[in-house]
């Protein structure tokens, strides 16, 4: 790559170095952007950090009661019952294995993460996208994109909004290149035919780790959400809480070559990390920790297929658990992301949370005023994210633990229409549990790791 530095760039570099020493994160956003150096020198066309494939597939939701003739879907292969569009992580698969994943999407789309772009050690973050086509709908020739929702100062070429840039036809590849300069919690989705592709499941979480990570002087773990300068976003464990919805009629329409009237939208199911309670507290699919560098490396078989969570074959394409495990005194980060179409009121019963970030921004005014706040409920709109930290209380072993060996605190959507699975009575939908163990929870190896 040709390296070219204009006079303006040079001034930015000079100014940037001084300010980075002081901590870029505390600067007003206007200044922060302008002072960031912007040159990367790498070998020609390095391999992508991640390789994503867009396709369709099938997932499982509690089949009783049915929703008219829309759900369970009569076309669904057992044990599944709901048609989706989605992404799969095909990093490291052979071409044959990759092509096998057509009609085997997962929900939600796989979480990925990266480190904040470091001007001192510049490295681009690359996500290659391919389009495998739709197995259930060979009549459709939709292109796909990767829109990183909230990525600041993106150029249209890498924004994934198809009208202002390009999208990826079936059988083609495109590599998105990012220099993520702003740590925090984001989401991504396909932006082609976006109401359909997003609702059908081509949507997932993404976050950026701050440059401050590794500094154990501010918080012993050295893990932070932002470059806070004071350790206020330090935490010991992190769990992504990604919210999406299923309107059964729309999913049935897509598998049956029909079109819904989207202005009649309503959510039949409300999902947390692609599942509904109590499946939300089922285990993660088996994950190879050592290779989970920028995304969960879910174990795959010889055909490249996902290995299902132990004991839950119906959750093969819903690999991400929402169970929150911790020990007393630990700070636990919950990254709430809502890519449903309705407001969610995620409540943590019995433990206060501090909201330290929102929409990938540290809760500070432009003059540094602390605007974080303490609450029991995160009210998250469509396309909004929150970073909430709670401190795990002491283990009581009281009546709530009932001899399980842990204390349980419920997390649920107080928008009560979204905390059921349509059945009469009983919790469902967007709900999960915090379990506080007296001991025996190992350090996390990846996000949403139970540590046990």
């Amino acid at each position: 790559m040709k390296k070219h530095i204009s006079r303006r760039d040079f001034l930015k570099l000079a100014g940037g170095a001084a300010v980075i020493a002081a901590g870029v994160g505390v600067l007003p956003p206007f200044v922060r952007k302008a002072l960031a150096p912007d040159e990367v020198v790498e070998a020609q066309t390095p391999a992508p950090d991640l390789y994503w494939a867009g396709t369709d597939g099938w997932i499982y939701l509690p089949p009783d009661p049915p929703v008219g003739f829309y759900f369970p879907d009569d076309y669904a292969p057992a044990p599944f019952n709901t048609y989706i569009f989605g992404f799969r992580n095909v990093t490291g698969l052979t071409t044959v294995q990759k092509n096998n994943q057509k009609n085997h999407a997962q929900h939600n789309a796989p979480l990925f993460w990266a480190n904040q772009y470091d001007p001192a050690h510049p490295k681009d973050f690359r996500v290659q996208l391919t389009n495998l086509g739709l197995g259930q709908r060979p009549d459709l020739v939709d292109s796909h994109t990767l829109h990183w929702h909230g990525f600041r100062n993106v150029i249209p070429f890498f924004d994934g909004e198809p009208t202002g840039s390009i999208s990826v036809p079936i059988g083609r590849d495109f590599t998105y290149v990012y220099r993520p300069r702003d740590p925090g919690t984001y989401m991504y989705h396909c932006h082609v035919e976006d109401v359909e592709h997003v609702h059908m499941g081509m949507t997932g979480p993404v976050f950026i780790r701050p440059l401050q990570n590794g500094n154990t002087a501010l918080y012993p773990s050295g893990k932070y959400v932002y470059n806070d300068g004071d350790g206020s976003t330090g935490h010991d464990r992190e769990f992504v809480m990604f919210m999406s919805e299923v309107w059964a009629e729309a999913h049935w329409c897509d598998s049956h070559i029909q079109l819904p009237d989207w202005s009649d939208y309503h959510a039949d199911f409300s999902l947390l990390n692609g599942r509904v309670y109590p499946d939300t507290i089922a285990p993660n699919s088996p994950i190879n920790a050592a290779t989970s560098i920028n995304a969960h490396s879910v174990q795959r078989d010889a055909n490249g297929e996902l290995v299902a969570p132990v004991g839950y074959p119906q959750l093969q394409y819903q690999p991400l658990s929402s169970l929150i495990t911790c020990k007393p005194g630990e700070r636990v980060l919950l990254r709430f992301i809502n890519l449903g179409f309705r407001e969610a009121a995620m409540t943590l019963a019995g433990i206060k949370m501090r909201i330290v970030g929102r929409d990938a921004t540290l809760m500070r005014g432009r003059d540094g005023t602390d605007t974080s706040y303490v609450t029991n409920t995160v009210l998250a709109s469509a396309g909004e994210s929150f970073d909430a930290i709670f401190t795990a209380p002491a283990y009581t072993g009281g009546s709530g633990s009932s001899g399980h060996g842990y204390d349980t605190y419920m997390v649920y959507n107080r928008r009560l229409t979204q905390v059921s699975n349509l059945s009469a009575g009983g919790f469902g939908g967007q709900a999960t549990e915090v379990r506080v163990y007296p001991s025996g929870v190992a350090a996390q190896q990846y996000p949403n790791d139970w540590g046990m």
């Binding site: 150029i155 840039s165 083609r172 590849d173 179409f341 990938a360 005014g365 432009r366």
Partner: protein, 430 residues
């Protein structure tokens, strides 16, 4: 779902129509619009200046981009043709604002000014109205049906963005379209949102984001003077500045939208420390009846004001916050600074660090220039047309409750607009 190319072809034709009225070639116009268009910009906030206004409540028709037309009630400049939404009333802090209201509707109506204090109605303090049993009938004094009048006045004490709307049966009248924007400019000047140095913005980049909704059955019932059961209220259209996409990106006072004068395309230049140091300002108003979550791509808005108050602490501390989801509640107003930085300075000389696929291996959008670089036009696949003029960038901004981008079954037809980023000046853009 793209079973055929017809839908995108149709959209393309509509867009061509929308853009063909660009620039200042406004063509033949009627009444109020001719008056306002003479001074208003083609893109950006289109003020009707006061501080004395004559406003009529009247009936009219708007068009939706699915091809439907909808019967509306709205406020219009006195004696001028129907428009929707109501005129953008612009005044200065400290002005005594007088609104002479004429009601041509077949039922009593009124105007309330949420956020204003000591409002007078015909010179006496404005009061809620009650029937003989003590039940409220209107939030303020009314102008009687079929030609009645009422004069409202108040001192615009606090700068900011405000809503005005019907206070009489608002569950019907406000939804029928009786609402509009009121802008109070601070004593600091028209390039500030508030009397704070950190609220300074670029005056050429001031935009209105006025969000409303329509249940076409309610409007049809009103047109036929039939009762409407509010328990069946079900929105099918969501509007931005009184239009649906792609009409939203047509210019202010576009000739083919004679009763919908306000465009919502935002046109800016990238940040530059000397040539363009200050951000733009988007004034969001939710005149609908539920929360909307608006998502501008490509930048985080800095929310500096809400409901006519700077977001500040008791000692003036800045408590503004960045948002990529501008989730604004019904009746709220938010003031949001917007700025786009050319963070990586990609250009032909500093190319993107990836090989651009051959044009036969990608699908291109109609706003795409054919090049990743700002100010550069490139090759597009044969048979495709581009509306891109000078290598400018188009970055979308839309409601993220994505079903609300629908117009009664037609997708990509609701609360959508674009941020147009032109190359730094001087450039070759028309």
């Amino acid at each position: 779902m793209q079973p055929s190319g017809f839908k995108s072809l149709r959209l393309g034709i509509v867009l061509l129509l929308a853009l063909s009225v660009g620039g200042l070639s406004l063509g033949a116009q009627t009444g109020a619009q001719r008056v306002a268009a003479a001074t208003a910009p083609a893109i950006g906030l289109a003020c009707t200046y006061g501080p004395t206004f004559t406003v009529d409540a009247k009936t009219g028709i708007i068009t939706i981009s699915d091809g439907n037309t909808v019967f509306m009630w709205s406020y219009s400049v006195g004696g001028q043709p129907f428009q929707y939404p109501g005129p953008v009333l612009c005044v200065n802090q400290g002005d005594t604002v007088t609104v002479i209201f004429h009601n041509t509707l077949s039922e009593d109506s009124s105007i309330i000014f949420p956020g204003q204090t000591n409002v007078l109605a015909n010179g006496a303090p404005a009061q809620p109205q009650f029937d003989g049993t003590g039940k409220a009938t209107s939030l303020t004094n009314v102008a009687p049906a079929n030609g009645g009048s009422m004069t409202y006045s108040f001192v615009a004490s606090n700068p900011g963005t405000y809503l005005y709307q019907s206070g009489t049966n608002p569950e019907k009248q406000a939804r029928m379209g009786l609402s509009g924007a009121l802008i109070v400019r601070p004593t600091s000047g028209a390039n500030f949102a508030y009397n704070r140095a950190d609220s300074r913005f670029t005056p050429e980049e001031e935009f209105l984001v006025f969000l409303t909704e329509i249940d076409p059955y309610q409007h049809s019932a009103a047109e036929q003077n039939l009762p409407f059961d509010l328990t069946t209220y079900h929105v099918h259209y969501w509007l931005l500045n009184g239009r649906t996409f792609p009409d939203t990106i047509a210019d202010n006072f576009a000739t083919r939208l004679p009763s919908q004068p306000y465009g919502s395309l935002a046109r800016i230049h990238p940040y530059d420390a000397t040539a363009h140091p200050y951000p733009g300002l988007a004034r969001y108003i939710n005149a609908g009846s539920e929360e909307y979550s608006h998502h501008p791509h490509g930048h985080n808005g800095v929310v500096i004001g809400r409901d006519g108050q700077p977001v500040a602490g008791p000692a003036g501390q800045d408590m503004s916050f960045e948002k990529y989801a501008i989730n604004i509640g019904p009746g709220q107003t938010w003031d949001v600074l917007m700025q786009w930085y050319d963070a990586e300075n990609y250009s032909m000389a500093n190319p993107i660090p990836v090989t651009v696929p051959d044009i036969s291996n990608m699908t291109t959008g109609m706003f795409y220039s054919g090049s990743p670089y700002l100010g550069v036009k490139g090759t597009l696949p044969p048979g495709t047309s581009s509306l891109n003029q000078c290598g400018e960038y188009y970055i979308i901004s839309h409601n993220h409750a994505l079903f609300q981008l629908d117009a009664w079954g037609m997708t990509m037809a609701g609360q959508i607009t674009y941020l147009r980023i032109d190359p730094p000046l001087p450039n070759n853009c028309p």
